[in-house]
C-alpha cells in the first residue's frame, strides 16, 4: 500500500513538475534573451517578474477590467503584462542600461558587466521598495475559479489518480505558446536575426547597417516582457509580495546557465529541469530544503557539463 501511495505521489510530482517547469522555462527564456544572448547582467529580472504579477493583479482584481472574459481573464491579463513591462524595459534600457552595455562597452575589459551589476542591483532595490510603497506588503493573489479546480485522471495499477490543477495547466499552455512565438520571432524573422547578430558581434553588426543600440533595447524590453508574462502566470496559482523576485531570480539564472548560455530553447529546458527537481524534492525534503536541492543538481550539471545541458560551442575547439 505504501508503494502505491509513493507511486501516486511520484506520478503527481512528475506532472506538476512538467506544468510548473514550463512556467519556469518561460521566465528563464526571458532572462536568456538578456543575459544568455545579449550578455547583459540583470539582477532586476526577478523584480520585472514581480511587476508582471502585479500588473495582472491590478488588471484583474483592482480594476476588474477582465471580468467580461470570465475564467480566461487572468491569463489574458498575464499576457497584457508583457506589453506593459516591455515599455518599462525599453525605458530602463534607454536611460540606464544603454550606458553600460552594447557598443559602448564592446571590447572593454569587463564588457560592461560591473556597470550592469551595479545599475541593475540599484534598479532591483528601487523596484522592490517602490513596490512595497505602491502595492503594500500584504500577500496578493489573482485567484480564478480554476485555481481550486482540478481535472482528475485515473490511470494505472490500482486507483492511481493524477491531479491536474486547471489554472496551472492553462498557465503552462500559455507559457508554451509564448516560448514558441518568441523562438519563431528570433529564428525566422529579419528582426530576430538582427537581434542575434547584434548580440554576437556589435561592431560587425554596425557594419551590416544594424542599429545595435536599438537592437539591444528591443532585446532587453522583449526579455523583460517575457519574464513579466511568466510573472502574471505565476500570480494565478501563487500568492506574492513585492519581494517575490528574489526567489525567482535564482531560479532564472540557474535555468539559463543549466540550459547553456546563448541558447533560448536551452534556457527553457533548464527552467523545466528546475521545475522537475523542485517538485520531486518536495516528495522527500522539507520545503526549506527544496531550493538547496535545486542547487545540488545545478552544481552537478555545471561540473559535469560546463557548456550547459543544451549548450553548443560556436568556437572551434
Amino acid at each position: 500500500m505504501d508503494a502505491q501511495i509513493f507511486f501516486e505521489n511520484a506520478l503527481n510530482a512528475c506532472v506538476s513538475g512538467l506544468v510548473i517547469g514550463c512556467i519556469y522555462g518561460l521566465m528563464c527564456v526571458g532572462l536568456s534573451l538578456i543575459f544568455g544572448i545579449m550578455r547583459v547582467v540583470n539582477f532586476a529580472q526577478g523584480d520585472l517578474l514581480m511587476l508582471g504579477a502585479y500588473a495582472a493583479f491590478y488588471l484583474v482584481v483592482v480594476w476588474g477590467t477582465m471580468s467580461a472574459l470570465g475564467p480566461a481573464g487572468p491569463f489574458v491579463a498575464a499576457l497584457l503584462a508583457g506589453p506593459i513591462v516591455f515599455c518599462l524595459g525599453w525605458l530602463l534600457h534607454r536611460f540606464l542600461l544603454s550606458r553600460v552595455s552594447g557598443l559602448r562597452t564592446a571590447g572593454s575589459l569587463d564588457e560592461g558587466h560591473f556597470g550592469q551589476l551595479i545599475v541593475t542591483l540599484g534598479v532591483a532595490l528601487i523596484l522592490q521598495n517602490g513596490g512595497l510603497i505602491l502595492f503594500g506588503s500584504t500577500p496578493r493573489a489573482v485567484s480564478t475559479p480554476l485555481s481550486s479546480a482540478a481535472w482528475l485522471i485515473e490511470t494505472g495499477p490500482g486507483d492511481t489518480t493524477i491531479f491536474l490543477n486547471k489554472a496551472r495547466l492553462i498557465a503552462c499552455l500559455v507559457a508554451l505558446v509564448v516560448v514558441v512565438a518568441l523562438w519563431l520571432l528570433l529564428e525566422r524573422t529579419r528582426l530576430g536575426r538582427a537581434l542575434r547578430a547584434a548580440a554576437d558581434n556589435p561592431t560587425a553588426a554596425t557594419y551590416m547597417g544594424i542599429d545595435v543600440d536599438r537592437a539591444h533595447r528591443i532585446a532587453f524590453a522583449l526579455g523583460s516582457a517575457v519574464t513579466a508574462i511568466a510573472g502574471g502566470l505565476v500570480a494565478t496559482y501563487l500568492s506574492f509580495t513585492p519581494f517575490m523576485g528574489i526567489d525567482f531570480v535564482v531560479i532564472m539564472y540557474a535555468g539559463v546557465v543549466l540550459g547553456g548560455m546563448g541558447s533560448l530553447l536551452g534556457a527553457f529546458w533548464g527552467g523545466l529541469t528546475i521545475g522537475f527537481v523542485q517538485q520531486f524534492s518536495a516528495l522527500a525534503l522539507p520545503p526549506q530544503l527544496q531550493n538547496a536541492a535545486i542547487f545540488v543538481v545545478f552544481l552537478l550539471i555545471v561540473v559535469l557539463r560546463p557548456q550547459g545541458l543544451f549548450g553548443r560551442s560556436a568556437d572551434r575547439a
Partner: protein
C-alpha cells in the same frame, strides 16, 4: 566616389591619424599599405563611423558621411570587410550572408548576389547550415567577403583579407578580389600587408606611416619608389 580630406582621428589623447587625404574614383582599385600600427584599420573604422573623426571630412558620392550615424552608412552602399574577419560566430553561414543583405538594396538583389557569392566561393554553398564560428580561418575570410558582397555595395572595403592565411589560400582570396573587381566592376579599397600582390592589382596606392600619408600615386610610381621597394618589397638597390 570616396573623398577623404584632412582626416584626423585620436584615441583619447593619442593621434592615430593626422590630416589624411585619400580619393577613390568609381570603378577604381585603391590600396593602402603601411607597417603595423600605421592607422590603416583606424582609417576604415572612421569611414564606417565606428571611431569618431576629430577633424576633416569624408564624402561619399558628394554626401557628408560624418553627418550619418555609423549604422546608416552601410545603407549608402559601403561594405566593410573587417580585419580579423569578425563573422557572426553563432549564426550559420547562410544567416551571416543574410545579415550582409540587411540594407534595402541587398535585399532587393538577394537572389542574384547569393548566386554570385556561391559562384565565387562554392564552399559557402556547401557549408550553408554550419555555424560560422566552426569554419576554418580561410573559410571565415571567404564568408566575411561574401557577407560584404551581399549588400550589393558600391564600395567594398577590405582590411587585410590575407591575414593569418596559408599562402595558397591567400593567393586564392587575392584572385577572387581581382575577379570581383574585373568582372563586376566593383570599386575596391584594400588594406594589405602583402604589398607586392596588392599593389599589382591596384590603380592607385597610398603609403600610410604612423598616421600620415607619406606617399601616393599610380602603382607603377609606387613600385619604382626606392622607399617602397626597400621597406615593403624587401628589394634593395645594390
Amino acid at each position: 566616389m570616396l573623398d577623404i580630406a584632412g582626416l584626423s582621428v585620436a584615441y583619447g589623447g593619442l593621434r592615430a591619424l593626422s590630416e589624411v587625404s585619400l580619393k577613390v574614383e568609381a570603378g577604381q582599385f585603391v590600396t593602402v599599405v603601411g607597417p603595423n600600427g600605421a592607422g590603416k584599420s583606424t582609417l576604415f573604422k572612421a569611414i564606417s563611423g565606428i571611431v569618431p573623426a576629430a577633424a576633416g571630412s569624408i564624402r561619399f558620392d558628394g554626401e557628408d558621411l560624418l553627418a550619418r550615424a555609423a549604422d546608416r552608412r552601410a545603407h549608402l552602399g559601403i561594405a566593410h570587410v573587417p580585419e580579423g574577419r569578425q563573422v557572426f560566430k553563432t549564426l550559420t553561414v547562410r544567416e551571416n550572408l543574410e545579415m550582409g543583405a540587411y540594407p534595402e538594396t541587398g535585399r532587393r538583389q538577394w537572389v542574384r548576389t547569393l548566386e554570385r557569392i556561391h559562384a565565387l566561393f562554392p564552399i559557402l554553398a556547401e557549408r550553408h547550415e554550419q555555424l560560422a564560428g566552426t569554419l576554418s580561418g580561410g573559410e571565415q575570410q571567404m564568408l566575411a567577403i561574401g557577407r560584404g558582397l551581399a549588400c550589393a555595395p558600391r564600395l567594398l572595403m577590405l582590411d587585410e583579407p590575407s591575414m593569418g592565411l596559408a599562402p595558397a589560400i591567400a593567393d586564392m582570396i587575392f584572385e577572387r578580389i581581382a575577379q570581383i573587381h574585373r568582372e563586376d566592376g566593383l570599386t575596391i579599397l584594400l588594406v594589405e600587408q602583402r604589398v607586392a600582390e596588392a599593389l599589382e592589382l591596384s590603380d592607385r596606392g597610398y603609403v600610410l606611416e604612423t598616421g600620415r600619408m607619406v606617399l601616393e600615386g599610380p602603382y607603377q610610381t609606387l613600385l619604382s619608389d626606392d622607399r617602397v621597394r626597400r621597406s615593403y618589397l624587401g628589394i634593395g638597390d645594390e
